[in-house]
Amino acid sequence: MRAEPTSRSAAIQQILGRHGTDAVYVASTGYVSRAVAAEVGPEHVVLYMQGSMGLAPAIGLGIVLGSDRTVVVLNGDGALLMSLGTTHTIRDHAPADRFFHYVLDNGCHESVGGQPCAALEQSYPGVTAILPITRDGKPPRVPVSPPDNVAQVRARILR
């Protein structure tokens, strides 16, 4: 039985509350990155993957394999489906105690016009939880450039 949808911001706050400010967060492209940027505080470190739809979990896997940090990926349902095979690579290679992968499921490609995407299954390997969310519209742009974003994340990882 699938949970009732919450607001997008409530789902993101739930994830941020669960994993705190020590984790490195990776946010998927489009509205997911924008929405995460609108919810985090200055103490959170987030890599905003603004291109490369579908590949946020793979970037997170690379970070967790290349460091000793905890990594939390915030993905979308369409992006999950785009590189679904990555869930199996995560299952086989990610350390389960410090890699977490959440899917915000609004049933559509909201960032590019709300076109429907295929409905998700109840669960997948390599996915911590699927959080049904409502379609809450366009958040403001991510307020950091890719090079500055990389520098921020690197400082957190290497500190």
Binding site: G51, S52, S67, S83, I157
Partner: protein, 137 residues
């Protein structure tokens, strides 16, 4: 970009240069290289489901300060182009690509003509094209 005729000894050389994560999609022309990678001590080796995933895993490792190498057949460059152009280059995370070159069979002819030019066109800074005996049909 560099072109070599054999990947013999390349895995060991890359470890000497500090590479610690190897991720890719297997290619028959790179079989020996992949066996060498598997035999290395103290490195992480991940076989990815497709080349875009491999590039993104390597970019994440580079972000975390771990030098990373992606191996793939040139056919997989098509899959890799999106993360190379929308992740690696704009974010300054440029893992080494080791690309098995093929060009003889019909399905390899077009990419076999343009693989090097494609990497030059997007100005990707770090790649080794491996031309080997894997083109005999």
């Amino acid at each position: 970009m560099k072109t070599v005729t054999s990947a013999d000894g390349l895995a060991q050389q890359l470890v000497g240069e500090g590479y610690r994560l190897f991720v890719g999609v297997p290619d028959s022309g790179l079989r020996g290289f992949i066996e060498d990678v598997d035999a290395l001590d103290g490195v992480e080796h991940v076989i990815a489901t497709w080349e875009a995933e491999a590039v993104a895993i390597a970019a994440g490792a580079e972000l975390a300060g771990t030098k990373a190498c992606v191996y793939l057949q040139n056919a997989g460059l098509g899959h890799a182009i999106n993360p190379l152009t929308s992740l690696c280059i704009p974010y300054g995370l440029t893992p080494l690509l080791v690309v098995g070159h093929r060009h003889t069979l019909p399905q390899h002819e077009v990419m076999g003509r343009v693989d090097a030019a494609l990497l030059e066109l997007i100005d990707y800074p770090l790649a080794i094209l491996v031309h080997g005996p894997n083109n005999e049909g």
